[in-house]
Subunit: 146 residues, 2 copies
């Protein structure tokens, strides 16, 4: 098993970051404009990108502290993995600890997703701090795989 880990700090209240992770408006402002579905506990959120997409089941929510999704549809390598967002306040910062966990093998696609997650986390930070992120299809291109 292998995990993708990231850490960013956002100059804002944890509640504002939490909102960007748990509402369709928030999610479509930093990850992909094509976000739909149910953000309630047990609901499934559908994220669509130009090449395909992911369906995430909302498995844990603690307001201002934790968001956890299970990947229930998407690329074969992603199915059954979990995405975990842990938030905490540190002075004027909200620290975001991100983990995309449970990859069966460190395949090349995992290398790509790790870098791509980092750029989307920076997009989340920009959205909350400035009001404008860089979601798909306006995301940062990192390679031939986009």
């Amino acid at each position: 098993m292998a995990d993708i880990l990231h850490r960013i700090g956002v100059v804002a209240e944890p509640e504002r970051v939490y909102e960007a992770l748990t509402t369709l408006d928030g999610l479509s402002g930093w990850w992909t404009e094509k976000t739909s579905g149910s953000v309630a506990p047990g609901g499934v959120i559908e994220f669509r990108f130009r090449p395909g997409g992911f369906d995430m089941k909302v498995v844990e929510l603690e307001p201002g502290r934790l968001v956890r999704w299970e990947v229930v549809d998407g690329p074969e390598e992603w199915i059954g993995t979990f995405v975990r967002w842990e938030l905490r306040r540190e002075g004027e910062w909200t620290i975001v600890l991100f983990r995309h966990e449970g990859w069966r093998e460190p395949v090349e696609f995992m290398y790509h997703c790790s870098t791509k997650w980092a750029t989307y986390l920076m997009s989340l930070k920009e959205l909350v701090e400035t009001g404008a992120g860089s979601p798909d299809p306006r995301d940062v291109q990192i390679s031939d795989w986009h």
Copy 2:
């Protein structure tokens, strides 16, 4: 053991990316301006940043294909880990597979370094493609840990 993985594509020949990873001029153009030491096989390169730095022993070099460093001094969590750069051509792209391997524990500092490596890889891409990267002290701030 835990690894940080990343993948980027650079629109340039592998030799140009290799040069940015194996010369003081190249390295100081995307990672940190304060880069000194010996880039030859078996040499030690000293990378210095505002908060501290890393000493990397050059343990493997295959022109246009592979660069591998061993961390011989720096933060305790980094000592004994390895940084591996694998390059290959894909049409007009050079694909860079990056691995910072052998972390003993997935400590919070590893989360930070993973995201920070991603932004430095984007700086490497910019340097090779445009002639100007964003090395320390002009690097992208991602959090309170910089």
